[in-house]
């Protein structure tokens, strides 16, 4: 426990985090790429076409990881945001604010791939189905957080305000989801099930899991890269940044 605390406090210091992130980033990239290649091979080549959906089902190997990541990133961001608002450590602000664009990217992917999948399945690119609608609202929440962050001149102030918004969003998100589900049943809209929980064949499952884990590692890698830049930008007056800029490590 004590060692963990020490490590936590060390990671909270920007120069240490900068070095640490630079060290683990290549590893995260490597794992993400290897897993993604394996997952793509399994999903696009090895898995047989689905009995009902034909080859269109192969979209799940990008859609489902993106949809899961859109929520996972939000969770990480909300926890960082909570810490940033209560205890105000600089690192939590950076991690929360640099997570938001990645989460927004995954949400956008989930929306695009979801509608590309919807066209062959439901005959339309967009339907106001509960999942797609919730995902759209989630996208707006991400945009609001990013917009609020950039509306402030001072990044620390912006980060804290946007973190507070992220916390409000975390409370709001389940409410949105359940109200949208209720609204959907009320209007008896299309009730489409992507796939029943029992119908996943193992040949489908393992590429899906690989892609999901790859997406998580990608998130880690991208977050490290973004945080490093953000730290350089925010700590510009500090000596360690000057040393970093003078020193060799200018690419990366």
């Amino acid at each position: 426990m004590n060692a963990f605390k020490l490590w936590y406090h060390k990671l909270g210091s920007p120069p240490y985090f900068y070095v640490f992130a630079g060290y683990i980033q290549p590893w995260l990239w490597t794992i993400a790429i290897v897993l993604a290649l394996l997952g793509l091979y399994g999903g696009l080549v090895l898995a047989p076409p689905d009995a009902l959906q034909g080859d269109a089902f192969r979209i799940i190997f990008v859609h489902v990881p993106a949809a899961w990541m859109s929520l996972f990133v939000y969770g990480v961001m909300a926890v960082s945001a909570f810490i940033a608002v209560i205890w105000r450590p600089k690192m939590a602000e950076v991690l929360a604010m640099e997570s938001a664009p990645i989460g927004a990217a995954f949400t956008l992917i989930a929306l695009i791939t979801g509608s590309l999948w919807g066209k062959p399945m439901w005959g339309t690119y967009w339907t106001w189905d509960a999942r797609l609608t919730s995902e759209l609202v989630l996208f707006f929440i991400y945009l609001g957080i990013i917009g609020l962050y950039h509306a402030f001149d001072d990044p620390r102030q912006g980060a804290r305000a946007a973190s507070f918004l992220a916390m409000i969003g975390a409370v709001n998100l389940p409410i949105v989801h359940y109200s949208v589900v209720w609204w959907n049943t009320l209007h008896q809209g299309t009730t489409v099930r992507y796939f029943g929980p029992s119908s996943i064949a193992p040949s489908m499952l393992w590429p899906l899991l690989l892609m999901t884990i790859a997406a998580k590692f990608y998130y880690g890698a991208s977050l490290m890269g973004r945080s490093r830049v953000a730290l350089l930008d925010r700590e510009r007056g500090k000596d360690w940044v000057a040393d970093e800029v003078r020193g060799g490590d200018v690419h990366g």
Binding site: V85, V137, L138, F140, I141, L143, G144, G147, L148, A151, F152, D154, R156, Q157, R160, A161, F164, L165, I168, G169, N172, L173, I175, V176, S179, V180, W182, W183, L186
Partner: protein
């Protein structure tokens, strides 16, 4: 009175866009009035703290020994009285002009009576968060949309159910519960938000 005028203008445009067919207008009347009222309230939201921020009165409020959340609760009440109450007065007229069945009018009014204070409370928390920024009307709309979605769904759900002669009390009960919760939490959240937005 600007929000009221705005609501009247928006509601008037709908028949021109959709045609004066009575059945269609009657079906969408409830939803149109709800969304119109929401947009009109949004119009006034950006100015809630602007004046106090520009003349320094907000600083005096922040620094006074009174609890900030109580002062902000008064601010929220004032906003609702000035913006939402006049809208509540014109909303039945607009709904009638769009052809909403008279029997549904009380449900619409009740839905608005619960939805508008809820929107005011949540909207002002978000406005407080943008208090330290430059003019931000568009950003505020973007931030408010996700919070407004459930409110609109439940309020419109009640009106829609009443139009079909179905029981409509459940969604309104949810709105009332949310309002009770927001009445307690929103002033506190607003005080926190304001301190975050104005502190460096």
């Amino acid at each position: 009175m600007l929000p009221v005028l705005y609501a009247i203008i928006v509601a008037t445009l709908f028949p021109f866009a959709l045609g004066p067919e009575h059945a269609l207008l009657a079906r969408i009347a409830g939803g149109v009035v709800l969304v119109t009222v929401l947009l009109a309230m949004l119009l006034a939201l950006d100015n809630v703290f602007r004046g106090d921020l520009d003349d320094g009165a907000l600083e005096q409020m922040l620094l006074s020994p009174q609890p900030l959340s109580v002062l902000l609760a008064a601010r929220m009440l004032a906003y609702w009285l000035v913006t939402a109450l006049p809208l509540l007065l014109v909303a039945p007229i607009l709904a009638y002009m769009l052809g909403l069945q008279p029997a549904v009018q009380p449900v619409l009014l009740l839905a608005l009576l619960l939805a508008t204070p809820l929107l005011a409370l949540l909207g002002i928390v978000l406005t407080a968060l943008t208090a330290g920024t430059r003019r931000s009307g568009m950003l505020l709309s973007l931030m408010l949309l996700p919070l407004a979605v459930p409110i609109v769904i439940f309020a419109a759900g009640a009106v829609g159910a009443a139009q079909q002669g179905l029981p409509w009390i459940a969604p309104l009960a949810w709105l009332a519960a949310a309002l009770a919760l927001a009445l307690v939490l929103a002033p506190l959240a607003c005080a926190t938000a304001l301190r975050i937005a104005l502190d460096t």
